[in-house]
Amino acid sequence: MADKLSIIVDEIRTTIKQTFDDKVVSRSQVAYWVIIVGNQLLGKHIAKRNSGAFLNVYTVPVITATETKLPSIIKGRKYIELPAAIFDFDKDGGIGYMAYYNNDENCKPEYRIKKIDRTTPSEIEWLELNKRTRPSPETPYFWRAGNVFPIVGIESVPIKEVEVGIYQTISPLEKIDINAPFPFPQELMDTLKRQVTDLARYSFLFKGDKNNDGSDEASDPTTKAVPKIQSVNQQQEQ
């Protein structure tokens, strides 16, 4: 069982000593850092390992567009929308698989499904050249346009929903349940903590915002800003 996000966040806050009332770094800020660093590490982990540990399976309805909604939705096309954001791996690898149940094979076990292969609009033209690869209910294909996934080959068959296995990113801060198990590999937890702590340390390097207290900065040489780019021939002001 994975740790909850709240436990990870609180542990890091304790480490960077940001638990007091007038803390500089808020709890939600640490949670945000955990999510962005977590996404980076999780994406690399999934791409590296052939594992189903982070595969999420959904059934989603097939929508036939009744009107054109640009960008990406063209009237008459069948498509699906994913219930969650996915990693943008090479060749749409964020989609583990896509399939539909073949109604013609009712006598077969329920897992008898027809796989929908991934393609691109330019490859479809090539696939059309051969009767064995041409998009059809027997050989359907999907391609990606942003968050819309048009499916070709099933135009003439009444498929209501497809099953899709996806590698989804960690939900954004405004959607995530901080007390739900955090989908992250345990063996990378120390790397996550170290990188988030580094972010916090880096943030501490920035000076605080200047307050307008009415004092004359020109008379106080310690507050004078030093230009970032300075000629080597230029005399340093004392």
């Binding site: 060749k91 698989y97 796989k115 292969d117 393609t119 696939l127 051969n130 064995r132 690869t133 050989t139």
Partner: protein
Amino acid sequence: MAQTGNYITVDDVLFKVTGFAGDLGYKNIPKGFYIQLIADAFEQLNLDSFFMEGNDDFDMPSEHLTIPLPKDCFNLRGVYIFTGDICNIQVSRKVWHKRNYYTQGNGYIANRTGQNTNDPYYLNDSLTRNGRTKDNTDLIHYNNGSNVNNTLFYNVQNGNLMLSASCRGAGNKVHIHYNSTGCEVGEAPIIPSFYKSAIEDFATEAALRFRMANEPENARNFMAMQQMYERRLDKDGFNGSWHKAVSKAKNMSTAESSDLKIYLGKAAWATGR
């Protein structure tokens, strides 16, 4: 020609080829592309071995005297005309090949038409007045008074079988026997088992070439594997699975071979009695 009762399906071959090409989930090559490779291998093996034979029957095309050959036909072995139907063949007659013959239904063009008037090279009637004496007419068996145009003959041009006008009255059906490139590969087991290794190697080698072209970052790895399968296949040589498959397909069956020895051992074969 070898015979076998053991035929395999496309799925049997796909199972291995996708494994050998490192593409179990069809993530890199569409499934239909593999099936096309298997079909190509099957077709080319049949072209090399003449193993698959086909038979087909047509209604006599009385109007145009022309029949489009079946798509899988690449070598005619015999043309016949018969009366009745395929379940009840009454009288069948062989149709002979005639060079240069061309027709679209009425009349025909050929070097010898039986009407070669004043032609110093092709005489007027090739069978009845061929310039030979009666002594050597047994070289060509014919009925006295018959004309070349009474003979049943055909020619093939551009995939069309053209029959002679005399075929119209010889029967209501045309039967052709031919070498086939094989029927459509699909779920039915139609691939003879002795083709198996050659088709696997052919399809795997081609699939790896596909991957080399489409995954250039891994081309060097695939190249090593592709060369291994090219050696295994040795398509134009004599040391690979391709040659083994072709030679097995061409080998005469033991029964056919021993029966032929007996036929040839009888003196009567020379006289035809």
